[in-house]
């Protein structure tokens, strides 16, 4: 755990004529969680998407393991999972099938691993039903199983506890905790702190 795994310098981004990111700097090391906070519209979602390259940065650079991510975009993408406002699931496929394709595109994966991940997020009971028949919180649990399966060092999460019941909120905390313990790092946009011990959880307030 020498330097930081992910580092961003002086990020600037405009949406139409709004200067949303005004020179954001951040650095996160392995085993560390960075929680993005800030009022509605502060730019949390925008920052997450800019970090993984979905939004086009006007200025500034992002480094992964001290290499500019533009040098090896695909390699960088292979080491991260991004979970946005809505879970990326096909309504017509079951949870198992969804994970099989979504994560299967990234790594070799067995049916047992999928089942184990779904069980871990409490989605075992409805893992074979088409996602369109699931409630809002049930969908989110299926998507969280994707995180577990991916086995990548970097998690980018946008309000991961949305629609989850109290058990689900603890589940997210436990998942992140285990991920950090294994040396991974995570950046999460949150309105409620996730409940990770303060030593490992820093905060970046975007309103300022």
């Amino acid at each position: 755990m020498s330097g930081s795994m992910l580092r961003a310098e002086n990020l600037h981004l405009w949406r139409a004529d709004r200067h949303v990111l005004r020179g954001v700097d951040l650095a996160v090391r392995g085993g560390e969680l960075l929680q993005l906070t800030g009022a509605n519209g502060a730019g949390k979602t925008t920052l997450l998407r800019a970090l993984c390259g979905l939004n086009h940065l006007e200025e500034g650079r992002v480094f992964w393991k001290e290499r500019d991510v533009r040098e090896d975009r695909e390699g960088f993408h292979a080491s991260l999972v991004y979970l946005g406002h809505a879970p990326p699931l096909k309504p017509d496929l079951s949870g198992v099938e969804n994970l099989g394709f979504w994560m299967g595109m990234r790594r070799r994966i067995s049916r047992e691993a999928i089942d184990a991940a779904l069980a871990r997020t409490g989605a075992g009971g409805f893992a074979t039903r088409p996602v369109r028949t699931l409630s809002a919180g049930q969908r989110r649990r299926v998507a969280l199983a994707g995180l577990v399966l991916a086995s990548v060092p970097l998690w980018l999460l946008d309000e991961p506890t949305t629609n989850l019941d109290s058990g689900g909120q603890e589940l997210v905390a436990a998942l992140v905790d285990a991920h950090l313990a294994a040396g991974g790092l995570a950046i999460a946009a949150v309105h409620h702190r996730l409940g990770i011990e303060p030593a490992r959880a820093r905060e970046l307030n975007l309103s300022a």
């Binding site: 993984c52 390259g53 979905l54 939004n55 086009h56 695909e74 390699g75 993408h77 292979a78 080491s79 991260l80 999972v81 991004y82 946005g84 809505a86 879970p87 990326p88 699931l89 096909k90 309504p91 017509d92 496929l93 099938e97 394709f101 979504w102 299967g104 595109m105 990234r106 790594r107 070799r108 994966i109 086995s151 990548v152 060092p153 991920h179 294994a182 040396g183 991974g184």
Partner: protein
């Protein structure tokens, strides 16, 4: 992170997965598979309805009717090529998968052609027959429609990707693509006409083939660029 690093998926495996996924999704809703076919049949049937059943008239316009109907059927289906995946966030995950986006989109386009172009090219001689086209032209019609729809799928994939950000993609897509599809239509109906007359139709077929090759090499690149833009 698991103790052993996971084994990454090979590019070809990813391509296969994408095709398999799209076929599975399509067969999950089998009734939707016949949509382009039904549309094709109905549009073809509109002409005898509005022009009357005179076989001599119908035979003259058969190549035009078949090609326009097939083009429109394929075009309407194209609108869905990326739309569902964009809405539910799958495209975003494609772009972040660490695989080449161009390759993944190529897979989607291939699956799309299997699901629309191939059935259309099987159906075209049948509808041609109802318009008075001799059965001997069947093979020729089938081959030209198959080739033409393949080219259309590739060119159309650019339009489908470009209109992802647009609210009413469907019609805009047609407007963007129809002018670009004019050569396909011209060579395709020319070949069909020659096939109906029992003449050699290789020359326009070769031109169609050239368009296919050109679009196969360029379209997925352009589509990938367009998809990335749409994700912003």
């Amino acid at each position: 992170m698991s103790p052993t690093p996971p084994e990454p998926t090979a590019p070809l495996t990813a391509l296969r997965l994408v095709i398999a996924r799209d076929l599975m999704l399509a067969f999950r809703r089998p009734e939707e598979l016949i949509h382009p076919l039904a549309f094709f049949v109905l549009v073809t049937a509109l002409f005898p309805l509005s022009l009357g059943p005179e076989p001599s008239t119908l035979r003259v316009i058969a190549p035009g009717v078949l090609w326009v109907a097939a083009l429109l059927a394929a075009l309407l289906a194209l609108d869905f090529l990326f739309r569902d995946d964009a809405q539910d966030g799958t495209l975003e995950q494609f772009a972040l998968s660490g695989q080449s986006l161009t390759g993944l989109l190529l897979g989607k386009t291939a699956a799309h052609w299997l699901l629309t172009g191939v059935p259309l090219s099987v159906m075209a001689p049948l509808m041609g027959y109802t318009l008075g086209v001799p059965a001997s032209a069947s093979l020729g019609i089938m081959a030209t429609v198959a080739l033409g729809s393949l080219a259309l799928s590739f060119i159309g994939s650019i339009g489908a990707a470009l209109t992802l950000g647009a609210r009413r993609g469907g019609v805009l897509l047609s407007i963007l693509i129809l002018p670009l599809a004019a050569p396909i239509l011209i060579f395709g109906s020319r070949a069909t006409e020659l096939a109906i007359r029992g003449e050699a139709y290789l020359a326009p077929m070769e031109l169609l083939g050239a368009i296919v090759v050109l679009s196969f090499t360029l379209a997925p690149l352009a589509a990938a660029a367009a998809v990335r833009i749409s994700l912003e």
